[in-house]
């Protein structure tokens, strides 16, 4: 049991409507009946009543992406439940509805249309394609979209009103990781492999720019659909090309399949495999070939393992998603949302956004997220990328890299204490 | 030649059909047909194309739905299920030979035996091959590569290997040369007589039926009429 639904009223209304539509269709008779939902009383803001705050998310709950996505909203739900058990936020309980979009942008948009008039804010979920599909609609409606996992630059660059994300874009991550790799192992040739997550072309081109400006070279790149079953051909290409680094921006289980294919074909690069936060997922840990562990370096949005002090660490421990970075991100994001709501004096969408935009080095989830900063023009919160390595069944931080959207920022990484 | 020990019983009442009605949708093909085939009897059914000859055999085999006042073999009703009908010892050699073309002749015979639930395949095979020795040289060949006459011979053997009490043959003469028709008819009838197997033989070629059968019926307008086999003109009139 993961998600509680609040749908009985709609169900009844819709049932009547469908029955009527069918009846009308079949015998072209009948009379109109009552249907639809009547909206709540007079409240200052959509989705906020004296005792409830309605939040919603459109999430990939079915299909190939479900396993790596669903834990984030599930964990958020756990956190909201905890907050509610402790009395809610200023006396208001959080009502959180999650609808499935199957990673289908059209379905996501349909879900969002249903939310705009009844929910206060959207909680970010998985998926660059879905985020790209819905952000304009949300932005136009002035509905906050808090902390999606998104890799599409146009969603947040330039900053769209209402759309705020914590995680750096994949293109910035590949750039950072190449920089890190060159610092650690010296410059060399890179081969880039990506799933079409976000703007994968810029993920490739940014890695290339950094490599070439850092004295290395770019050998080739390959694009594989998410859920590709057999990565052997790409492993063979890499073996033939014999690069110093493999740079990848791939989903969790795709990363594992790919790394395993590299191991099977003796195709691991000389220096390192450098990945983005998309790979930092439980699905990677559960299925990668440990023979590759010491060659794999991923950029991570969160500190791993997380601080035992953090509420989320405790909340998730022992459950289905203990150690799953995606769940941690989901829970910590929920923490940030609750914090933002608490800090907002009069709860309207505009005030909430103003609160978040005013954050500067705000420690919203200590021990998981590094402190976050937003501004009216900068809607990406995190300024630090952790470099992690898989160590058995968990990831461990080995370095911290400052992350900046400034291409020429040249601050170097520091090894983790 | 000796009759094998497990040869069919010659007691019983054979096939009895009364008031059989069969149709395809709205089109009624048989309108209350009655027919008997005594054990070991060789009965010919003549009639032009479309008269319902094949339909009659398919109905007996349990392939088609029907209504009838009586449709029994040795006094027990025949089910509408080919497996059960074959089990009762009523075996159908279909029109056009219907060889399993990619199987060898030997394998075709085996399939006949499997369907007929023959316990001792060796013995059944010996018995049939002894009576139809022309098949022996073809055993290893693919059935599809045989000539029409050879195929017809194999089709009959495939039916006989199931050790039937009544063999039903549909259009033995179809597409065969007169000499082939003559030789296959003769060998089939001789084998049936030797084994004591009844034969219900449907054919367009009334003369070949008249030559070999104990009794002849004519299928016309969906019912069976007896034919006087001694009257050549009557035979000739079948198609007028």
């Amino acid at each position: 049991m993961r998600i509680a639904f609040n749908r009985s009223a709609k169900l009844a209304g819709a049932g009547a409507a469908v029955a009527l539509a069918l009846a009308l269709g079949a015998c072209s008779g009948g009379s109109p009946g009552a249907g639809g939902e009547t909206s709540g009383g007079a409240v200052a803001e959509v989705g906020v009543t004296a005792d409830t705050i309605r939040l919603a998310a459109s999430q990939t709950l079915s299909g190939p992406g479900a396993a790596s996505c669903a834990p984030s909203t599930d964990a958020a739900q756990l956190y909201f439940d905890k907050v509610n058990d402790e009395g809610g936020v200023d006396g208001r309980k959080i009502d959180f509805e999650v609808l499935d979009d199957g990673y289908d942008p059209q379905r996501a948009l349909a879900n969002v249309r249903g939310f705009i008039d009844s929910k206060f804010a959207m909680v970010g979920a998985c998926g660059s394609a879905t985020a790209a599909a819905i952000y304009r609609t949300l932005s136009d409606a002035g509905m906050p979209f808090l902390f999606p996992t998104n890799g599409v630059a146009e969603v947040v660059k330039p900053a769209s009103p209402g759309i705020l994300q914590l995680l750096p874009l994949y293109e910035d991550q590949t750039a950072s990781m190449v920089r890190y790799g060159f610092e650690e192992f010296g410059s060399g040739s890179i081969f880039v492999v990506v799933n079409p997550l976000g703007e994968y072309e810029s993920a490739i081109s940014r890695a290339r720019e950094v490599a070439e400006s850092g004295g290395g070279s770019f050998v080739d790149s390959a694009v594989a659909q998410l859920g590709t079953t057999d990565y052997t051909p790409i492993a063979l290409q890499i073996k033939e090309a014999d690069p110093d680094f493999v740079v990848m921006s791939m989903g969790g289980s795709d990363s594992a399949k790919f790394v395993n294919a590299l191991v099977d074909q003796n195709a691991l690069p000389r220096s390192a495999v450098l990945g983005t936060s998309a790979s930092v997922a439980g699905s990677f840990l559960s299925s990668y070939n440990t023979a590759a562990s010491d060659k794999v370096y991923f950029g991570s949005a969160i500190q791993l393992p997380p601080s035992a002090e953090n509420e989320c660490t405790q909340l998730l421990a022992g459950g289905d998603f203990a150690n799953d970075p995606i769940a941690l991100i989901g829970c910590a994001s929920a923490q940030a949302i609750v914090e933002a709501i608490r800090q907002t004096p009069e709860l309207t969408r505009a005030n909430l956004l103003a609160t978040i935009e005013s954050w500067d080095e705000e420690d919203i989830s200590p021990g998981i997220f590094a402190p976050v900063s937003f501004s009216a023009t900068d809607h990406i919160g995190l300024k630090t990328l952790y470099v992690v390595q898989p160590q058995g069944t968990e990831f461990g931080v080995i370095a911290e890299c400052p992350y900046s959207e400034d291409e020429n920022a040249d601050a170097s990484c520091t090894p983790a204490g | 030649m000796t009759i094998a020990q497990d040869g069919p019983a010659t007691t019983g009442r054979g096939l009895e059909i009364e008031n059989l009605v069969v149709g395809y949708g709205k089109a009624i093909v048989l309108h209350g047909l009655s027919l008997r085939v005594a054990p070991g009897e060789i009965v010919g059914v003549a009639g032009p194309n479309g008269a319902g000859k094949s339909t009659l055999l398919k109905v007996i085999s349990g392939l088609l739905p029907r209504t009838a006042d009586r449709m029994t073999f040795d006094g027990v009703p025949l089910k509408r299920d080919p497996v059960a009908v074959v089990g009762r010892g009523v075996v159908h050699v279909p029109e056009g030979r219907r060889m399993f073309a990619n199987l060898t002749v030997e394998e075709n015979l085996k399939v006949g035996a499997i369907g007929g639930r023959v316990r001792d395949y060796r013995a059944a095979r010996e018995r049939v091959l002894a009576l139809l020795p022309t098949i022996v040289p073809m055993l290893g060949r693919k059935a599809g590569l045989l000539s029409g006459g050879q195929q017809q011979q194999v089709a009959v053997a495939r039916g006989l290997i199931a050790n039937p009490s009544l063999l039903m043959v549909d259009e033995l003469s179809l597409g065969l040369s007169p000499s082939a028709v003559a030789s296959i008819s003769a060998s089939t009838v001789a084998t049936c007589r030797e084994l004591g197997t009844g034969l219900l033989w449907v054919d367009q070629n009334i003369t070949i039926l008249a030559k070999h059968c104990d009794r002849l019926v004519l299928l016309r307008d969906g019912v069976a009429e007896p034919v006087d086999m001694s009257d050549r003109d009557a035979l000739g009139s079948v198609y007028f």
């Binding site: 709609k10 709950l61 008039d117 660059s128 | 479309g50 029409g148 179809l174 070949i208």
Partner: protein, 633 residues
């Protein structure tokens, strides 16, 4: 057969369904989400109606319908966004592009049976999604991140105005599709569904009709795509994958194939049930699959079929309802019937008089066959066959089963290509001429098992004999009665005339053909041959399965038709009596060779012929082809 028979005259019920949905959608107070879901359901219904034409009426299959929705949506949107074209022009170009792609794919896949078409369309669907996500088209279509679609002018992107637009399109689509399916084109499609070889022999260009159906199916998908792009406002490749194609197929199955109106009901159920009522992805997926399976197993006719059955039951329970509907049917029949002049007017009818056959006087034979050989692999079915049929005569072909008689007819009507020899019809060689062209020269054949369309009524079956090939009538057929009334009236008159000629009682003419008895079906087939400029009638065993009485009456009909219209008839039969009754000349075939030719009574008297045909024992060792039969498997 394919998922059940197609229904006839679906226009009224389908319009009622479409109108009902429209009224319900506009009148009911729907919340945003349900309104969106309903609009989307109607959009998918349009794509499902397209698929119905292909599957339910033409008997083909496509598991890639969503891909064509995607192509229509993407093409139109890209033209609007990148070239800034005005919406109407972008729509026309986008839908046209989809049609062109459908034409290309169709030209390959329609030649294949179901397995191949299913695989190819499924694969195409997968490929389209892959291509839309891929690198190459990314600058145009946005790749995996998709494409934001600007709102449409006037109707916006959602709400009642958009719903009105979508419903209006639905109603137009229903009208056009029903009109098309009840027209000559629709009848031709149904014949293709029931038997391609027969369709070819009736003069229909089978591949072309299949292509037409495939393209129509894809065009409707493209129109659905355009509407969909407007309502979602955003296009991403994931939503058009195989899963959505299967969904569309499910709408068809659940609603009822071959009905036009059914897919609308199916689309409502399939879209609203999982999309709105069951919001849990897992439960809705399980329910969806279970519903689909239940319909396939227990109710393959779909909701529409169920409704029809309930309707019939109501009529039985409340007889007044039945009287009402019968009166309506009679009124409908009256509105097109009895225009005695129409027949002669446009289509031909009584115009075929003996004196209009100059070749009869010129002495040009109706059919000349020289040295014909037909081979199937190594098996020679016909060899060195010479036949000559005088124009205006009745010529019988006899011979034992397997002698090659039907093969000869198939060769004459162009279904088999001879390996050697020549066939000339009214003096012109048919070498390399397609079956439908041979039919256009007036060669008409019937089949041993009556090759009628079981789900059309008798009159419509006969109309198929007249210009069933589209020949530019497609556009008129789309417009329905408005455009085709005159033509339909002429067809009707001609068909009535032919049915009169073969003696089918008037009361039987509005029955579905599958409800006739065998001899009636054979007459209907002959009537179909009589209409539409028949000059040479090839009858394959018209007497098979008939009672003596029926045979006599059929013989009388043929003699009458022959005498009145001077048709040349080539007839295969086993009934010597029948042949002696009607034939002027006769050819005897055995083992694919001609063993006798001449006046029937005289030929039959020859001992050799008697031996061969009637099996009268003769010393036939010298009969041609006396080697042990060579017919292969």
């Amino acid at each position: 057969m394919i998922i059940g028979d197609a229904k006839n005259r679906t226009l009224v019920p389908s319009l009622v369904i479409a109108g009902g949905v429209t009224v319900a959608g506009l009148a009911l107070p729907l919340d945003t989400s349900l309104e969106y879901t309903l609009t989307a359901a109607i959009v998918w219904a349009i794509a499902a109606i397209g698929l119905d034409v292909l599957v339910g009426f033409t008997g083909q299959v496509s598991f890639g319908q969503a891909a064509f929705v995607a192509i229509g949506a993407y093409a139109t949107s890209a033209l609007r966004i990148h070239l800034g074209l005005p919406t109407p022009i972008a729509v026309i170009l986008g839908v046209g592009a989809t049609g062109a792609i459908a034409l290309l794919l169709g030209s390959v896949v329609v030649r294949y049976r179901i397995f191949g078409i299913a695989t190819a369309t499924l694969f195409f669907g997968y490929l389209v999604v892959t291509a839309l996500m891929g690198d190459v088209l990314r600058p145009v279509f946005g790749g995996a991140n998709g494409l934001a679609v600007p709102e449409f002018e006037l109707v916006g992107s959602h709400g009642k105005p958009y719903l009105i637009l979508v419903c209006a399109v639905l109603i137009v689509v229903v009208y056009l599709t029903c009109s098309l399916m009840d027209s000559q084109t629709g009848r031709a499609l149904r014949l293709v569904k029931s038997n391609e070889a027969v369709a070819a022999a009736v003069g229909i260009r089978v591949s072309r009709m299949k292509m037409l159906s495939f393209v129509y199916c894809c065009i409707l998908a493209a129109i659905a795509g355009v509407l969909y792009s407007g309502i979602v406002g955003y296009l991403g490749p994931e939503g058009f994958g195989i899963k959505q194609s299967v969904n569309i197929f499910a709408m068809l199955v659940v609603g009822g194939a071959g009905t036009v109106g059914g897919p609308i009901l199916g689309a409502l159920l399939v879209t609203i049930l999982p999309g709105y009522l069951l919001r849990d992805g897992h439960i809705s997926a399980i329910v969806f699959a279970a519903v689909l399976l239940l319909f396939l197993i227990l109710l393959p006719e779909g909701i529409y079929g169920l409704g029809q059955r309930v309707g019939q039951w109501l009529v039985r329970v409340f007889p007044p309802l039945g009287r009402l509907s019968r009166r309506r049917a009679r009124a409908a029949a009256r509105s097109v019937r009895h225009d005695p002049d129409a027949a002669t007017g446009t289509v031909g009818g009584a115009s075929r008089a003996v004196d209009e056959r100059p070749e009869a006087e010129a002495g040009i034979p109706a059919l000349e066959i020289d040295g014909l050989e037909v081979k199937f692999g190594d098996f020679i079915a016909l060899s060195d066959v010479d036949v000559r049929i005088r124009a205006g005569s009745v010529h019988a072909i006899i011979g034992p089963n397997g002698a090659g008689k039907t093969t000869l007819l198939n060769a004459v009507s162009g279904l088999y290509v001879p390996s050697r020899g020549d066939i000339r019809v009214f003096g012109a060689s048919t070498r390399g001429v397609a079956p439908h062209r041979i039919r256009q020269r007036g060669v008409v054949r019937t089949f041993q098992t009556p090759a009628i369309v079981p789900d059309l009524d008798v009159l419509d079956n006969v109309k198929l004999g007249l210009d069933a090939d589209e020949k530019g009538s497609f556009w008129a057929d789309l417009l329905g009665r408005v455009a085709t009334r005159r033509r339909e009236r002429a067809l009707e008159a001609e068909a009535q005339w032919a049915l009169d000629a073969v003696g089918i009682d008037e009361s039987r003419r509005s029955l579905l053909a599958k409800n006739l008895d065998l001899s009636e079906q054979k007459r209907v087939e002959i009537a179909r041959g009589l209409v539409g400029h028949a000059r040479l009638l090839l009858l394959d065993e018209p007497t098979a399965g008939l009672s003596v009485k029926q045979m006599e009456s059929l013989g009388a009909t043929l003699k009458d038709v022959h005498a009145r219209f001077g048709l040349t008839i080539m007839v295969i039969s086993h009934h010597i009596g029948f042949i002696l009754d009607i034939a002027d000349e006769m050819t005897v075939l055995d083992y694919g060779r001609v063993i006798g030719n001449g006046e029937p009574a005289e030929v039959l008297a020859r001992p050799l012929i008697a031996a061969t045909f009637m099996g009268v024992e003769a010393e036939a060792a010298d009969a041609p082809g006396a080697t042990v039969g060579t017919e292969g498997a």
